[in-house]
Amino acid sequence: MHAEAALYEPPFPSDKPRRPGWLRCHGREAAALVLLAVLLFPFLWMVQLALRPADAAFEPGLLFAPTLEAFRALWEDQFARAFGNSLLTSTLSTALSLLIGVPAAYALTRWRFRARRHVALWILCTRMAPPIAFTIPFFLALRWTGLLDTVWGLTLIYLTFNLAIVIWLMQSFFAAVPAALEEAAWMDGCGIWAAFWHVTLPLTRPGLVSTAVLCFIFSWSDFFFALILTRTQAVTAPVAIVNFLQYDGWEWTKIAAAGTLVMLPVVAFTLLVRKYLVRGLTAGGVKD
């Protein structure tokens, strides 16, 4: 790689011989920037495609008048509804998994019972299992109960990964709160859950927010479950993109605009919770 080569070149001769040359100081930074530009090029190409007028989609070069025409066309189509479904499903699933998962994570952190490790292993297995293993039984069950192609059915299957994430992540946040604080609250007459609500939970608020964001993003990004468990009514935005690709001719600017809309909230949010991203992705496998 030229990046490495740049690092080994001798410093430029300069008027202050003691100081290392520009390349020595900034070679690594320059290499990183060049590499970044190359790697993000495909991503940026999609974004600029979304801003093109429809008739300029196939022209090479970057000389075009940017327009939001594609986004407007998208909004008049069925996409707004799919976007709404995505929002609704992700929010519902995040709220439900926090509601059920947070108290469980707290109990698992503070209550040292013997089967604790089995529960942890169970959660790890849930994280690792291939989605198709969940999809076939869920498909059959939802078909049987008439919940196929509904927001509720999708919300339920999103719990399979979100609940595991909440329980796993929140445990590490709760463990960081000193138990002495809760014991002090107990002394003052709080019950366990009152102490949890008034003392522990406020202290873990940043962790809670990050966990919620991760849950939201994972539900938002899901494609496989939504593809199989929805048809027309509960279609989410990622599935709508694929429908565009397959049925709507090749309206590239519109498709690129849809992709841009789906990705914007995710990119913004994840860069915010970057610190916890790896923990979310490796939930269960790495000791916190």
Binding site: P103, P130, I136, P137, A141, G259, G285, V286
Partner: protein, 331 residues
């Protein structure tokens, strides 16, 4: 010490004579270690927090697993749902799997995709992590931007590469044509389709290794590096003998995680090649999807899913063990 009558039954009879600190009823319960009554109350309270989640987890994970196992023993399918729900030949699906050339081929495709993809991701992630490891505001800012491919929704990644691989619209194809090297569509060509998918997969997932390795690099103490430099070690020797032993465990964990997740690869394949041309890019997951949801052979699809599940669990057990040993380095 006389016990208040209301509290007396809460204490086991044998321990009632011992000296417990018993609060008057207007005060809070005793220190948790001292009173069994409080402990029991505590246990019950924790149970109220834990059991609903365990019940939901059982409903959404164990019940489907049982269903999957049961269904995989039957020839259940859409065409005759009632008539095919029987157990006359419980292992029929599995026997058929062993002779199904398309399934066996999908295992081979899976092996190629996973091994090459994960290796490339590790190399690229490691290289970029080494490049970005350093104290500089530019490098710090750039680090976050390198994460973008990984955090994009998978379907958007698939879309980005679909644009790149479609000759009509691709800047890549246009540039090559302008240079006089027109290129056939990579994803329509059976010889290159799988490698085109591998390239996209590598692009998507190198940040994972990069992030983990960067975290590990920050944990390396300065002293051994300083000492080695004093002794005249060159960059390669520093990397090979000081840095590498520190990040080996993390690399292994990364490899296993990515390996397990590579079995789930779906959106890229669905959008870029749809398993084709022919069955060139049809991995096991994709074949299971086709059997279960294109052909509606649910029994057979379940058998495929169970085989994958077994493989994934075997690898997870490995991750779990390694995570416990190498976890300190990974954080």
């Amino acid at each position: 010490m006389q016990m208040p009558p209301a509290l007396a039954p809460a204490l086991p009879a044998g321990e009632a004579g011992q000296h417990y600190y018993l609060p008057s009823r207007s005060l809070a319960p005793a220190p948790p270690a001292a009173a069994p009554g409080w402990q029991r109350q505590q246990r019950r309270a924790y149970g109220w927090g834990l059991y609903p989640a365990l019940m939901v987890l059982a409903l959404i994970t164990l019940a489907p697993l049982l269903t999957l196992i049961v269904v995989s023993l039957t020839p259940l399918s859409l065409t005759d749902p009632a008539g095919t729900f029987h157990f006359r030949d419980p292992l029929g699906n599995y026997r058929q799997l062993l002779k199904d050339p398309r399934f066996l081929h999908s295992l081979w495709v899976q092996f190629q995709l996973s091994s090459v993809g994960v290796t490339l991701q590790l190399l690229m992630g490691l290289g970029i992590a080494l490049l970005l490891h350093g104290r500089s505001p530019v490098l710090g800012a750039v680090r976050s931007l390198f994460l973008i491919p990984m955090v994009l929704p998978p379907i958007v990644v698939a879309l980005i590469w679909k644009i790149l691989y479609t000759p009509d619209i691709s800047p890549l194809h246009q540039a090559l044509e302008a240079l006089g090297w027109p290129l056939r569509s990579l994803i329509a060509n059976p010889d290159t389709a799988l490698w085109a998918v591998v390239a996209a997969d590598t692009w998507q997932w190198f940040p994972f290794t990069m992030l983990m390795v960067l975290a590990a690099l920050q944990m390396i103490p300065d002293d051994p590096l300083e000492a080695a430099r004093m002794d005249g070690a060159n960059r390669w020797q520093l990397l090979r003998f000081i840095v590498f032993p520190h990040i080996r465990a993390v690399l292994l964990v990364c490899a296993l995680f990515r390996l397990i997740d590579s079995f789930k690869a779906f959106p890229l394949l669905y959008v870029l090649t749809n398993g084709g041309p022919g069955t060139v890019t049809e991995v096991t997951n994709f074949y299971g999807f086709i059997q279960a949801f294109n052909f509606s052979f649910w029994g057979y699809g379940s058998a495929i899913a169970l085989v994958m599940l077994a493989g994934v669990f075997a690898l997870s057990a490995l991750v779990s063990r390694l995570g416990r040993e190498g976890g300190h380095d990974a954080r």
